[in-house]
Symmetry: C2
Subunit: 146 residues, 2 copies
């Protein structure tokens, strides 16, 4: 049995900034869904590209969403997770889209035009660490070059 | 850019049976949450232990939940994800709890009494594979001994 430790907002921000893949939870009329996504971080928001006809495109506008990243190591019974919650908006301003496009690191893996950008602000940021002595920065989902 | 392939229900069942950690999405009055969990599979259901005062304990009874596992490899831009959705029930029958207890593999990593067992039936099972040529069984979250 291990104890659970809360991560500071600084730790959470560092982990969020270093990752590139995560999951979005969205509530729909027939219950919640979890969607794996590529993401980017900009101005204390998580940015996700999607399509207009996706679950996020259909139900995401002005909806409260949860975005999560984690590293769960079963063998060592340790890990961490960070969750961001906020009311999502669709980025529609052309100048803003162009500016985001320049800074957008990861391209989506899946084919298809993903022209819709969903922004989830870090209104609520929570992070937890499980297991003793684990340094979250040693288990980043991917080390993004600085 | 890679194509997305749907996984068969058999593939999904195999991946679900091999894993031990995943995530549950739950809708609450103030929006969806994602909770990392240890889990077990029993009779085409996902079983999760929690506490009565947790989010799952508070909002999970008879609620539609989504459970997800994935392996997302950013470096190779490939991966897979499996999501299960169903109306959750709390397992309260003492005989059933005792029987589940005997078969329950992974113990929870976090301290605290987790006496509540939430069952999420595989009413809806969907799985997707991203990237060409990847064999999902080569990237199981953990290989549980048979």
């Amino acid at each position: 049995m291990h104890t659970t430790h809360d991560l500071t907002r600084e730790d959470c921000a560092r982990l969020l900034g270093a990752g590139v893949v995560g999951r979005v939870a969205i509530s729909t009329p027939n219950g919640p869904h979890i969607v794996p996504v590529n993401y980017s971080v900009h101005d204390e928001s998580v940015l996700v590209r999607t399509t207009a006809y996706s679950l996020l495109g259909t139900y995401g506008r002005d909806a409260w969403l949860c975005f999560e990243i984690d590293h769960l190591d079963h063998e060592h019974e340790s890990g961490w997770s960070v969750a961001v919650r906020g009311r999502a908006t669709f980025v529609t301003d052309l100048d803003e889209l162009a500016s985001l496009g320049r800074g957008w690191g990861p391209r989506p893996w899946a084919a298809g035009q993903r022209t819709l950008v969903v922004r989830i602000p870090w209104t609520e940021v929570t992070g937890r660490r499980l297991g003793a002595g684990a340094d979250p920065s040693q288990h980043l989902p991917v080390q993004r070059p600085a």
